[in-house]
């Protein structure tokens, strides 16, 4: 029993989000492949089966009293012994399971029906019903529910069924909230919009699209609620508030407590049954959640820069003074469910000269971002650098399990991310996020660092740097945020900047300004820069040289002007051809339309 019987941990939004994308068939498969999930399902199935079949498989009449064998230990006739009235414990355990589960099922049904219907209506339509149900939900959640259960019991009597139904009502907010937030989230999904545009009625949309998404989370929540229902039952019965005439596991447990020192085993069996059932429900919920979040069943490898082979690295590491960054034969892989690594970039090799801006260009999946993260040593957990070398200023960054690399981060090598809004910590002021690295790397005092940060902000073109220092990320615009991130990147005077699609999330007019800013910073500080982008316009605007990636491999590299004007590799040519630059406008190219226009 959870200590706080009527509380349930809200499911993470990740689950809701995940449940949308999880196709049901593969979900079931994933669930069954998880040994925990499989065990839980088998156990639950077994418990339910045994309970349902109780009347037929129980060796004795569960209510047959034989005082002569009271408290008898397990024997050939009574496998689990006899209770205080000489009734067969095994038979009572089976029958008790039937009643316990039935009680829990009643609570669960009420909770799901009430929570689901109100959650669907409130979430989909909003309006007064939403306000009202939200209000009553917070009311129910604010009341110590155990008290309500006790009071209800006084009024309606100690019926297990009514108690469980009321319990269902009291716990329905947890389903309601889940459904409501799921529905609200789905309601904003484009496929629901598409369905509405297709002319589907609300009922159909709810049935087809919305219910599906909340289904799995509801099952998880239901598993938790089922466990709580059983725990609540036994808790009330322990308090002597149960229905003696309905021999649930809790009643058996309560009887066992009364005879604790005469026959300690009497609390073991129902206790074990309760613990096993709740435990399997929790396990089942956990496994389903894991399956939804699609966590690999195999243990994750501790990721990072565990380079497996350094042979190529030392061989080809260049000592050229003019080269700021040299990437040699870099190969990175991710673990898969089978033991093999899935390679995402393979033998990537390029140099960045001092003061040069190198563009890493490619379509999605080309490995350009993975390459950038490798240079930074910020590959996601699990990623493995299989081979290759990254040499910065003559130093092999991967030599000592990445320690050198981490030491240079922020100070010598800096990062400008793609999405400005999600790359600032929403919980700290802009100022704090700028000042902390400067104090650490440059050893500045608080005031000094603040001054410098304010100056930097002014320098990157922020109109009111003092105010911006005090602002939280959500209080500034995306363009401003990107300027702040750039200011952060250059704050500790790095010599190499890795910028991952720094303008992709911005409007074109803002993009142009940010590109200007990067250009001027580069010029004034003599920075070297790796610029990841998919946009040839950005390359043309900023880059000195270009590396074109496809499927994790370099297809072509060279000076920007040459490569853009005379691409050698067919893939590069195709890509450049796909840009719409220089094509005729449709109003001209569409002959029929042009005629029509002319006719007007």
């Amino acid at each position: 029993m959870s200590a706080a019987p009527l509380t349930t941990a809200p499911l993470t939004t990740a689950v809701l989000r995940a449940s949308e994308t999880g196709a049901d068939r593969s979900l079931t498969r994933r669930l069954l492949r998880n040994p925990l999930g499989l065990t839980a399902i088998v156990l639950l199935g077994l418990i339910v089966l045994l309970s349902v079949l109780a009347p037929w498989i129980a060796p004795h009449d569960p209510n047959h009293v034989d005082l002569a064998v009271a408290f008898d230990p397990p024997s050939a006739t009574h496998w689990l012994g006899a209770d205080s009235a000489g009734r067969d414990v095994l038979s009572r355990l089976l029958t008790g399971g039937r009643l316990t589960l039935l009680g829990a099922a009643i609570g669960l049904t009420v909770a799901v029906v009430v929570g689901l219907v109100s959650g669907l209506v409130a979430g989909y339509y909003g309006g007064w019903f939403d306000t009202l149900s939200d209000l009553s939900t917070s009311l129910v959640m604010a009341l110590p529910n155990m008290m309500i259960l006790l009071a209800i019991r006084v009024v309606v009597g100690p019926s297990l069924w009514i108690t469980m139904a009321v319990f269902g009502l009291l716990i329905s907010p947890s389903i309601y909230r889940l459904v409501r937030s799921g529905v609200r989230q789905v309601r904003g999904e484009l496929y629901v919009d598409a369905a509405r545009v297709s002319g589907l009625s609300d009922a159909r949309i709810i049935a087809r699209h919305v219910l599906f998404v909340v289904r799995a989370p509801i099952i998880i929540q239901a598993a938790i609620i089922g466990g709580i229902a059983i725990a609540i039952q036994s808790g009330l019965e322990f308090l002597g508030l149960g229905d003696q005439t309905v021999p649930t596991w809790g009643v058996m447990l309560s009887e066992g407590f009364g005879n604790l020192y005469i026959a300690p085993l009497l609390i073991l069996w129902p206790g074990l049954a309760i613990a096993l059932t709740i435990g399997s429900l929790v396990l089942f919920g956990n496994a389903l959640r894991d399956a939804l979040e699609d966590k690999p069943a195999a243990p994750r490898l501790r990721g990072g820069v565990a380079r497996q082979s350094t042979a190529t690295a030392t061989a080809t590491a260049t000592a050229d003074d003019d080269v700021a960054l040299s990437v040699r034969g870099l190969t990175v892989g991710y673990p898969t469910t089978s033991d093999a690594l899935k390679t995402v970039i393979e033998s990537v090799t390029f140099d960045v000269r001092r003061g040069e801006i190198l563009g890493l260009v490619g379509e999605s999946g080309s490995g350009k971002t993975q390459t950038a993260w490798s240079v930074l040593g910020l590959l996601p957990r699990g990623a493995v650098v299989e081979s290759g070398a990254i040499v910065h200023d003559g130093v092999d960054l991967l030599a000592d399990a990445g320690r050198t690399q981490r030491g240079l981060l922020g100070r010598r090598i800096a990062y400008v991310p793609q999405e400005p809004m999600s790359n600032l910590d929403p919980y700290f002021t802009v100022g704090h996020q700028l000042v902390a690295p400067m104090r650490k790397h440059l050893g500045l005092g608080r005031a000094e660092a603040r001054d410098r940060a304010t100056q930097l902000l002014a320098h990157v073109g922020i109109p009111d740097p003092v105010r911006t220092m005090k602002a939280y990320p959500h209080e500034i615009s995306g363009g401003m945020a990107q300027r702040v991130l750039i200011a952060g990147a250059v704050s500790c005077d790095p010599d190499l900047i890795v910028a991952d699609e720094p303008t992709t999330a911005l409007d074109v007019t803002v993009q142009a300004e940010i590109l200007d800013l990067l250009r001027s910073l580069q010029a004034e500080r003599g920075l070297s820069m790796v610029l990841v982008t998919h946009n040839f316009g950005v390359v043309a605007d900023l880059c000195d040289s270009v590396v074109v990636l496809r499927g994790g491999q370099v297809v072509e590299q060279g000076p920007a002007a040459a490569l853009l004007s005379a691409p050698q590799h067919p893939y590069t040519r195709d890509l450049l051809a796909a840009t719409l630059d220089g094509t005729a406008p449709r109003s001209v190219s569409d002959a029929a339309y042009a005629e029509l226009e002319a006719a007007r």
Partner: protein
Amino acid sequence: MTDTLPSVENSHTVENLLTVENLVVEFPGRRRRAPFRALKGVSLDIAPGETLGLVGESGSGKTTLGRAILGLAPVTSGSITFEGRPLVGLGRAQRRAAGRDVQAVFQDPYTSLNPAMSIEDILTEPLTVQGVAGRDARARVRELLDAVGLPADAGARRPNEFSGGQRQRVAIARALALRPRLIVCDEPVSALDLSTQARVLDLFIDIQRRTGVAYLFVSHDLMVVRHISHRIAVLYRGEIVELGSGEQVTDAPEHPYTQRLLAASPVSDPHEQRLRREQRWAQAARAS
């Protein structure tokens, strides 16, 4: 203000498919704050078989306009008429019936298809609403898949088995299922890779040629809009600042904002890009 726009008069010579007049859309403000006015009196029209490009930056209201036409955003005032019938102020069911000739293709091909449904289910969904089912529906699905260049066996698979470009083709097929007269395309290629984007744009053009459907094509990318639109409207902070032929708007923009937009769009030729940059700086210098 619509009267000042050069092309409005022209379009009256043809029977309009869709007419939007003085459309205002407001979203209620949070916590007693004043409502946010996303569209401040927008007027435009679309002729049958025509593509009207709608270009603007984030917050310009371009997506809101598309959603208002689809009945997905609340209309505060103004009118939307489709083939002479009003689309505003109807009940839910009436709106559904009136709007069946206006379909949509959305931006994100990853979220605009229900991941749990097979492609066939996704494509039959609009058909069943119209009472087409069984063999007819399956035949229509094959037809649609063919029209968007997907293999016939795609129907049995699920969206996550397809690439972004292929998913967008499915979305287009779904929009075509009901043989609409107008498709609102909300940034349909901006999430796609460069090469895919070009192919999908060509598909749009191809379909328009074959079926005569009209598009309201919403995008932030002037080049994309120029490539597909007969006429282009430039939206800025909830108002249309310029509306003209694709050629006029993208080659000789009149409004300073459009000029700024054009100068800011980078091109892949380094030389030409340097010229644009300088042009932009000159504009900025003039402005300040």
